[in-house]
Amino acid sequence: MKNFSRRDFLKTSATAAGGLVLSSGMLSAQKKGGDKINIALVGMGAEGEVLLNSIVKLPYINVVAVCDIWQPRCEFAAMRIMRELKQAPARYTIKITPKDRLTPLVKRGRIGEIKGENYKDLIKNHAKELDAVVIATPDFWHAPMTVDFLKAGVNVYCEKMMSDTLEGAKSMVRAARESKKLLQIGHQRTSNPRYKYARQVLLRDNNICGNIMACNGQWNRAVTKDLTWAEKDTIPQDKLKQYGYKDMNVFRNWRWHKGLGGGAISDLGAHQIDIFGWMLGAHPVRVMASGNRDYYKKPDGSPAHDWDDNVMCIFEFDKTFQGKKAQAFYQVLTTTSSGGGYYESFMGDQGTLKMSENPALTKLFRENNAPDWAPLIEKGIIGKGDEAAANVKVADSRESKALVSYGFPATVPGYEPDVAKKPIHMYHVENFFNAVMGKEKLNCSADHAFEAEAAVFKARDAIEKGPLEFSASDFVVED
């Protein structure tokens, strides 16, 4: 086992950050925006807003254009950029009302005009000045948009899932290879300093879990109503159809519909299933899965959504980075937000690492037969133990006693207090822009992200094709 030192980790990080080992990223180091990176934003819904929250904090960004076919969201993005970056991006959207609410600001030069309706208009007008585009549209638009921007010579940050089809995702990988432009996919945990520290320092350098034989992850949410909209903001039906939506309800709830999104296992699960493979350093070899559409019914009782509300699946790995077999259980529920938040646990014979984007949910548990962790605490590799966490009365002598929980060190390298204040998506967005500037390698290239896509698509197939069905006779002992 390699002896860990903080210096080693920082050196490793700095090497990556220093851009000494760059591939296609170097080809994009020539910025079109002079001192700034010229970007466009396409798709300004909930996820687009999450990314915008990080982008407006980056002083080297110049937003040339924003595009969302839904006018209120396009307006919102343009207003925030005007207010927080003092920039006036051109707008691309469907005009729901003939009068533009922002006309007074356009006249004062504080906000850009509506110059077109969609991303193709945007490419036509701005491709030559763009260094990058950030795409956060519904999944089924990811592949055509990404391919078109890459072909136009623009580096792309695209949200996951890469596509609603495997072929779509493959087309994105191929377009990135052919264009030699950058394509980062939005699995933001791969840029999170705490996740990187856990993967390299805890699991690999210090083998803190021993042999990892199992993983367990979840992201549970309460069942809620379909997203709605204000009547005044309804997109005309002919426009909805033109852009692939049956009606306004489907436009607002595209995540649940085949041909547009992939349901909860894709929206939420893809993040964590990606982390299973990334942490274990392996692809799954088998998957079994089960899912149900328990809510969202039409008046006649038939399902109103195409994808399952609740999914549970098990991935099997034949050879992890430790050369071991492992199983990973994952559940995503649209029933209850109980169950202890969202996390991914890596369970070994000497300890368990419970990771979450929420630092408060991140814990380490030491098995009683593991080597003493005191030296690790002394070196600052992990935090002190919380004996109180193990102080749970057992009801029976056969019951396993609760384990002492340990935290991360007070300061994880690369996650100093000022860095820790950043929004959780910001590390990944910064990694992309640093790669555009030739300073870093992408943390989640299309090739890497495709591995998670393949795992999620296969899990969804397994729901329909894989599980064996029980019959009533299976539970009956015949005479």
């Binding site: 909930a46 919102f76 903001d233």
Partner: protein, 212 residues
């Protein structure tokens, strides 16, 4: 008490001189993963607001009235949404004004006796707005004769004076400020906030002012 048969929009009249004010609430519209709400002076209650007794003839006198704001160009939506009578939590039903200490102000058109004020900032996600201060005055500039009827700015960060009321979690039930025992008179109602536990922006779905 004798029950009367008249029912105003949000009022069930129960006698000739007093009525029970029960807020009409929109359906719940929560979405996404719940986020932690961390605030020093937080009241964690998330249920319906209590019913109160108000004089007969009291109604929502804010509906359709003019709204102005410290931010004259909202990030999203329009100020008219604050008094349009729609409390739905959907996208497009709220107005978002800029970061920091900001206010919206309702002109009731004439000086009125106010018995309660109800607020829905945002309810598709549980969150708490900071430094919520509600004032009533006959002065549109709020320089003279200002009556503060609610203030949860426990550390005076909004510089409007320290308040001892608790911050609260937004839900579809709204927040009712009960002034029935100590009604105040004024033409203008001004509501301050200073972002929320989710982000720096300030949102309003609806404000109702019950008076006559």
């Amino acid at each position: 008490m004798k029950k009367a048969i008249i029912a105003l929009s949000a009022l069930a009249v129960v006698s000739a001189s007093a009525a029970t004010l029960k807020l009409q609430v929109p359906s719940a519209q929560l979405s996404g993963t719940p986020v932690p709400i961390v605030l020093d002076n937080l009241d964690t209650y998330k249920g319906p607001q209590k019913e109160i007794q108000v004089p007969d003839g009291v109604s929502n006198i804010a509906k359709g009235k003019q709204v102005t704001s410290s931010d004259d160009f909202p990030m999203i939506g329009e100020l008219t949404l604050v008094t349009d009578g729609n409390k739905d939590g959907a996208e497009g039903c709220y107005v978002e004004i800029m970061d920091g200490v900001q206010w919206v102000q309702i002109d009731l058109a004439k000086s009125s006796e106010i018995y309660a004020i109800a607020i829905w900032h945002f309810h598709s996600q549980e969150r708490a707005y900071k430094d919520v201060v509600v004032q009533v005055s006959d002065d549109p500039n709020f320089k003279n004769d200002v009556k503060t009827v609610y203030n949860n700015d426990h550390d005076n960060s909004a510089k409007l004076g320290k308040g001892d009321q608790k911050a609260y979690i937004e839900t579809n039930y709204g927040k009712l400020i009960d002034l029935s025992k100590t009604p105040v008179k004024g033409r203008y109602v001004r509501l301050y906030s200073n972002g929320s536990t989710t982000n720096g922006s300030n949102h309003y779905i609806e404000v109702e002012v019950f008076g006559k």
